[in-house]
Symmetry: C2
Subunit: 262 residues, 2 copies
């Protein structure tokens, strides 16, 4: 039996669901599942009657250093004993059978698991064997079924990919990573005044070479130039760079190569 303590905090990321792999056929999938888990702070893996046998050298090779998970892995005779200490069990299935069970998306499942773990429950996620998926008897043990919405024309997630998506949603459900960070949004951007100075400098030099030709063209083209530089939201350092470019093209460059052309 897996000890109760193992379902508790081990990764420094707080208590998390256990992952139960039923009758897994390929050792590689145990290894890649372990790797997927640890990326998202899931550390307790249980194998129920693994068809691939255990220990398994292919699993070790595929785990990419997720040895914390493999070292703590526990072996069980069947799914019933692998889930005996759990309060809430979700079973992943690509094809929900005619069972009277709630069917959740992976995202909804993550929210449900977060709530139950926060309330002190021991929660598990059950994944079936590669070829056949979970049996009806396995599914009957679960409180709800989890499915991943997939392309109806090609639905071929392997068990480690399903574990990856479950871990991903579990982790994102409590992640405080901002959806978007824009480092240029703050103080590094040029001020409106710096932009206006650049535009004035540019227009002065363009006037000097009669770039605009007529007052009407001048009005519309200056507007277009303002829009162009305004939209890109340049940094203060970039505005300085552009002023150097204008100066150099207008013949004021320190090498003075183009002086004769203005």
């Amino acid at each position: 039996m897996a000890g109760t303590d193992r379902a508790r905090d081990t990764s420094g990321l707080g208590p998390a669901p256990v992952v139960v792999l039923a009758r897994t056929q390929l050792g590689e999938n145990v290894g890649t599942a372990a790797r997927a888990m640890l990326n998202f702070g899931l550390t307790e893996l249980r194998l129920a009657a693994p068809a691939c046998g255990w220990p398994n050298t292919k699993a070790l090779a595929a785990a990419s250093g997720a040895t914390l998970v493999l070292n703590r892995l526990t072996l069980h005779d069947d799914v019933t004993s692998a889930t005996a200490d759990l309060h809430y069990l979700l079973a992943t299935s690509a094809r929900p059978r005619e069972l009277i069970k709630p069917v959740l998306t992976m995202r909804e499942a993550a929210a449900e698991m977060r709530a139950r773990v926060a309330a002190g429950a021991r929660v598990g996620l059950l994944f079936g064997p590669e070829r056949t998926g979970l049996s009806n008897d396995d599914l009957l043990l679960a409180d709800a079924i989890v499915t991943v919405p997939l392309n109806p024309g090609y639905s071929s997630l392997n068990v480690a990919q399903a574990v990856l998506l479950a871990g991903y949603e579990w982790f994102q459900a409590d992640s405080d990573t901002p959806a978007r960070i824009d480092p240029a949004a703050a103080a590094l951007r040029a001020t409106k005044g710096e932009l206006a100075d650049l535009l004035e400098h540019l227009v002065t030099e363009l006037d000097a070479v009669d770039f605009f030709r007529t007052p009407d063209r001048r009005t519309s083209m200056v507007r277009a130039l303002k829009a162009t530089f305004g939209r890109s939201g340049p940094l203060a350092s970039e505005v300085q760079l552009l002023r150097g470019v204008v100066k150099a093209l207008a013949g004021g460059g320190h090498r003075g190569r183009r002086a004769g052309r203005s």
Copy 2:
């Protein structure tokens, strides 16, 4: 050059981002990336200077039938030419460098890509080689950087796993799958009246064997029984089954085995 048409609808799921793999080292990862893509309706894969060479037998073996993606794959000399026809490019990076670029989560990136594709833009997602990730020159080509929030103690997503998560978020961002379906929530559940009849039947039989002993115990235990059956929200068919169970235990079963005990 990949043709413009290829960035358009091909899967029946509407226009979608292209996936660009830069200098990929392992053919397996091209195959598993193709498989991950097709699950989520992404069909256009471009290889920029693949270190693994192309065609690649390991890629074919790992693609699990995602041949639609491999057959349409295009080869490019470098990232610049592989992305030349795109209007908007997101680069995935585990370690955002000191670049002045917006940094998006994968979920935010999916929303951004959906909006841009809907507006008619050709959008791409760029993934780097296994060992080193994207170079600074690659990242400079991108409009924004995408990162996946990971366990800070173990961050080891491979390129195909990153493609899987990107495809997953892309697909979920437009999925109309309800977060939760509860087939038992509707007409299959027992009505309050069926539940009350079951309770009355049960209490009558328990009274007959003096199960409750005192009126006080009777009151509290009947309440507990009501709570027990009420919380499980049984189906109408399950209530019928339980009435049969009560009848059988109380000696009214058709085999009459326990008749002598009441």
